[in-house]
């Protein structure tokens, strides 16, 4: 199933004015597939991802992730669910500045109280996959943008979550680095059979996506040139 959203409404109040971001949005992101969400700036891509990830709460509607209805969970349960089932990759990397590369990667497993030995092994493994095995003790401020994003990818994948949510992951990188990071993400995602939902403007991402959606006027519209999600089932 992966991800299903039903009749999601979300608005923000800014300067006394109500801004409708999502309006009766319905979505289905298939399991094990790479879905891309397109849209203009301010269309609600990040909001959509935040709602899927339980980082934001819709004004109304239901969010099902891996058969769990996130809308009815408490904050604590949502947090635990997110910890164990979701991985986040942000545009601005969002590494913890006071932790090293290794510690950033181990962050979620430590929060979860996982077995330290196992977690470390998994962290070494994923960091090797992203090519940062020699930068374990480096602090985020001394990494390049691409390196930081690779740490973020490692952090998102180390606990083996089923779903990865990526919000403009290459938005802050140059084209070359961005492409490399994107390829790495997609490769890892497919190798590990994860569901990847990415909000992006990247053409390279579009080219590699299984499904493409567009947010327009608060609704998620599948790209007509692409098959409807779920149609293959």
């Amino acid at each position: 199933m992966a991800i299903r959203l039903q009749n999601i409404n979300k608005c923000y109040v800014e300067g006394g004015k109500k801004q409708i971001i999502l309006s009766g949005l319905n979505a289905h992101f298939p399991k094990g597939k790479f879905s891309v969400v397109l849209g203009k700036s301010g269309s609600g891509k990040s909001t959509l991802l935040n709602i899927i990830g339980g980082l934001d709460i819709p004004d109304s509607g239901e969010v099902f992730v891996e058969d769990r209805n996130l809308s009815i969970l408490s904050d604590y349960d949502r947090t635990i669910f997110r910890r164990r089932n979701l991985g986040f990759i942000f545009q601005f990397f969002n590494l913890i500045p006071t932790l090293t590369v290794l510690e950033n990667t181990l962050l979620i497993s430590e929060l979860d109280g996982s077995d330290r030995q196992k977690s470390k092994k998994a962290a070494f493994d994923i960091l090797e996959h992203v090519g940062l095995e020699n930068r374990l003790d480096a602090m985020p401020d001394f990494l390049s943008g691409g390196e930081q994003q690779r740490v973020a990818i490692a952090r998102a994948l180390v606990n083996n979550p089923q779903i990865i949510l990526a919000d403009e992951p290459t938005g802050n990188l140059d084209q070359y680095t961005g492409l490399n990071v994107l390829k790495m993400m997609v490769r890892l995602m497919r190798e590990r059979k994860k569901t990847l939902v990415m909000a992006t403007h990247s053409k390279e991402a579009l080219a590699q996506a299984d499904f493409i959606f567009r947010i327009e006027n608060g609704l998620l519209i599948p790209n007509p040139s692409e098959p409807m999600p779920g149609s293959e089932f």
Binding site: S46, T47, N50, G53, L55, D56, I57, D75, Y76, T79, I80, R82, R83, R84, F88, F90, N94, L95, I96, P97, T98, L99, L107, I108, E110, L111, D112, R116, M139, D141, F142, R155
Partner: protein
């Protein structure tokens, strides 16, 4: 123009961060309020003293005084008749309580109306009826008094009405013969505390016989001949001295007290300054990116510097205005607290005086602005020192801060050394000592980053840090944000060390006083006279007491205050060997040696007396006293600790005293009761048998101790207020710091939450951070607080009063320090943790 736009930008930031800005305003307001309140109290003491002495002294240039009991009025008569000096006025002064004014204590002043017109404004004031009638009226009938219109209104009496004056337990009815109206405010206030009558009436009411208190004279400045001729003809124990000198010596007693009060209030301002420094530093740090952008756009370093200074001064101005209002309110309470102490220890303070002048207000406002300015200078310098590129990199800031640590540490060590050097100088200049203390405080603050770094490294080795992520994150956050956390730690450390230092000082003082009371007050019951000014008992009283069952032994004490001469103000106690035992600071030989020497004419002097008169505390000396038989030298056989008289005490054997002074009067009687006798019952028995025929105040050992401790506790009530204020400021300071640090990391916290950190884990991390800050602050406050206490006790207190105190430090002081610091920090972290935890994760992530 550029500055105006920049200021608007800066103030816009402060408007957006209202709580932070409010903390700056509150910090300076509290400091200014404290300074103003103490300044008002000190001004009031000054004014009160002026009104109680200077205004009533009028044109007097010199005064003839004797012992505490006064001297014979024949001196006055001889001056006029024998020596032809007519420009003099005899005065009798005492204190009475007025029944119609709820037993308020007023000065009773007996004057010679004919002499008065040369000296004071009193009878030159407008009066009703006319002055001539007042002269004749006062003289023709006894029991007539003049009071001010203000006093008459308060007592609800008019001309012809009666007042009841109580003296030594006796009631005296007087008639209000005239009301005085002063021409100027000073005299008006002075008169509001005085009842004026003629000399004969005053002598009768105060039971002075033919004694007078003093003679006021007017002698031209260059007229040494008259001065010498008067001096030559004065009897023993009666001296002439300039009026100003006499006033000054009384005034000097309370000036140390005032200076210490002022120092305490300046400490409060210093703590407030740290609060501002803290907040401005954070605001600068939070806007580093903005400053980088401004610099990149072409704003000069100077413009950034003045922008930060300008915003701080504006906020400081608002805070100072608030502080003025608060200070006036605080001042009322402070005057009441301090006034009681001054009345207990130095002179009776007028209750009608509340001295607030524009100068007090301007001074406090100025201090507030200067404090704001000084607090903002270093953050402003930091802001201009950043290049546009460095502004972006967080780690660059911390790298810069880390590089600065050795330099700061060396600076701190230098300041500590300077402070120690200043305090080592033997001086009576309190200002110098407080400067040394300030250097010690600042020097310690500069060492905080280095010490904090090492302490946290130590903590990182703990198993808790190794295995618990939230704890490790907390330690790391504190350590890697030293540019911010060190300031918070330093501010909290200073505040808590003030609490510790003052607490140790007060407790040490109290312990020493209690010990002194135990050593000195050994009899079961004490009897003294009822007259505050000339305490004396009936000479038949000892015999009457001997007939009462239950009394094992009694000892007679004569206490005489030396009113003039080299040791003016000191009290001479004549007593017997049995009750003269003291705690020695120095003695000439063994215990029995010194008492033998005492019996043979040596004296014992108090530590304060020794210190004030240049005696070394490790050796004796000679005291020369004017006696009835001429000047006599008395060797000093011992120096003892004493807190009873500000100007010091001299103990002499009763027999020797009577031999040289020919004075058989009694000031007090000490009684030892039979064993097994209930002291209160014995007191009742004595009252029942003797109170009708004799006037005395009788107290048990326990009640005297209690009263003495009550006076002590009242004196230090102001320090309790200061401790409370310091605690409040500590809390506000650390709240501000922690909140700023957490707000700055909102996004980072959002990331942690996005990656699965629960609210409880978040709280654990944030509270651990706060706890670490608190614990380090408290720990560092221990040595600093102890050093502060040491300085207050062994340097400042010694210079102010000449007393040696025990140094009492208990574990409770240290536990209290750490407790206050940790609890303040944890409490301060509650709201920020709650606010951040409540924030939606998505919102947190959007924060720049």
């Amino acid at each position: 123009m550029a500055l105006r736009i920049l200021l608007r930008t800066g103030l816009g930031y402060h408007r957006a961060h209202l709580l932070q800005s409010l903390l700056i305003v509150i910090g300076i307001a509290m400091g200014v309020a404290m300074v103003l309140a103490i300044d008002i109290a000190n001004s009031t003491i000054s004014q009160s003293f002026k009104f109680s002495t200077e205004s009533l002294t009028g044109k007097t240039t010199h005064q003839i005084v004797g012992t505490q009991s006064g001297f014979s009025q024949s001196v006055f008569e001889d001056l006029r008749v024998k020596y032809g000096h007519r420009e003099n006025a005899p005065v009798i002064e005492g204190h009475v309580q007025v029944k119609e004014l709820e037993m308020r204590t007023l000065k009773l002043m007996g004057i010679d109306p004919f002499s008065e017109m040369y000296y004071r404004n009193i009878l030159n004031s407008k009066a009703s009826p006319q002055s001539i009638s007042i002269f004749t009226g006062l003289l023709t009938e006894p029991g007539r008094v003049l009071i001010s219109e203000q006093l008459a209104r308060k007592a609800d009496v008019g001309v012809g009405d009666h007042l009841t004056l109580i003296q030594e337990g006796r009631e005296n009815q007087v008639v209000v013969y005239g009301l005085l109206q002063s021409r100027d405010k000073n005299s008006q206030t002075a008169l509001s505390g005085v009842v004026i009558t003629d000399i004969a009436t005053a002598q009768e009411f105060l039971m002075m016989g033919d004694q007078i208190s003093r003679i006021d004279l007017i002698i031209a400045e260059d007229d040494d001949t008259t001065l010498r001729s008067i001096e030559k003809n004065l009897p023993p124990l009666v001296t002439i001295s300039p009026a100003a000198k006499r006033r000054a010596s009384i005034r000097q007693m309370s000036s140390s007290f005032e200076l210490n009060l002022m120092a305490m209030s300046l400490l409060a301002l210093l703590v407030g300054m740290f609060l501002i420094y803290n907040t401005i530093t954070f605001s600068v740090v939070q806007r580093r990116k903005l400053f980088g952008i401004l610099r990149a756009l072409g704003v000069t370093q100077k413009e950034i510097f003045f922008m930060i200074l300008g915003e701080t001064i504006i906020l400081g101005f608002i805070g100072s205005l608030l502080g003025l209002g608060l200070g006036m309110l605080l001042g009322i309470g402070t005057v009441r607290m301090v006034g009681q102490t001054v009345s207990d220890l130095y002179f009776v303070m007028s209750t009608t005086v509340f001295a607030v002048s524009p100068f007090n207000l301007i001074k406090a406002l100025g201090l507030g602005l200067v404090a704001s300015f000084v607090s903002a200078v270093f953050p402003a310098i930091e802001a201009i020192g950043v290049t546009p590129v460095e502004a972006i990199r967080r780690s660059a800031l911390e790298k810069y801060a880390t590089r600065l640590i050795p330099r700061l540490s060396w600076g701190g060590l230098c300041l500590l050394f300077l402070g120690w050097a200043i305090l080592s100088v033997r001086t009576q200049r309190l200002e110098l000592s407080y400067t040394g203390l300030l250097f010690i405080v600042f020097g310690s603050a500069l060492l905080v980053p280095m010490i904090s770094q090492y302490l946290i490294r130590l903590c990182m080795w703990s198993p808790l840090a190794k295995y618990e992520l939230t704890v490790r994150l907390a330690f790391r956050n504190v350590s890697r944000s030293l540019s911010r956390t060190a300031v918070a730690i330093a501010a909290l450390m200073i505040t808590v060390s003030v609490i510790v230092g003052v607490g140790i000082m007060v407790e040490s003082f109290r312990f020493t006083v209690v010990q002194w009371l135990n050593d000195t007050i050994r009899a079961d019951i004490y009897l003294v006279g009822t007259n505050r000014d000339i305490p004396s008992l009936d000479v038949d009283l000892p015999e009457a007491l001997e007939g009462i069952p239950g009394i094992r032994e009694l000892f007679i004490v004569r206490a005489v205050k030396l009113n003039a001469g080299k040791y003016a103000g000191a009290v001479l106690f004549a007593m017997d060997r049995e009750i003269v035992e003291r705690k020695w600071i120095w003695k000439a030989g063994t215990e029995s040696d010194v008492y033998d020497q005492f019996a043979n004419g040596s004296v014992f002097i108090s530590e304060t007396f020794a210190w004030q008169n240049g005696f070394k505390l490790d050796r004796g000396g000679i005291i020369n006293l004017a006696t009835e038989l001429g000047e006599r030298s008395f060797p000093v056989a011992g120096i003892f600790r004493d807190f009873s008289a500000r100007q010091g005490v001299i103990l002499i054997k009763s027999q020797i005293y009577r031999q040289y002074w020919g004075d058989n009067r009694i000031s007090g009687i000490a009684l030892l009761s039979d064993s097994g006798i209930d002291v209160e019952e014995l007191i009742d028995r004595i009252n029942q048998r003797l109170a009708k025929n004799y006037h005395f105040v009788i107290s048990s050992n326990a009640s005297i101790r209690k009263n003495a401790i009550d006076v002590f506790d009242r004196t230090f009530t102001i320090t309790v207020a200061l401790k409370i204020l310091a605690t409040l400021v500590a809390f506000i300071g650390v709240f501000n710091s922690i909140m700023s640090m957490m707000l700055e990391r909102t996004r980072e916290i959002g990331v942690l939450r996005a990656n699965g950190m629960t609210i409880s884990q978040l709280w654990r991390m944030l509270l651990t951070e706060a706890g670490v800050i608190g614990f380090i602050s408290g720990l560092l406050a221990l040595p600093l607080g102890t050093v502060l206490a040491w300085i207050l006790i062994f340097v400042i207190n010694r210079q102010s009063f000449g007393w040696t105190l025990e140094f009492i430090v208990g574990p409770h002081h240290y536990l209290q320090a750490i407790g206050i610091a940790v609890v303040a920090s944890l409490l301060a972290a509650i709201y920020p943790s709650y606010a951040i935890g409540k924030k939606l994760i998505a919102e947190a992530l959007r924060t720049e």
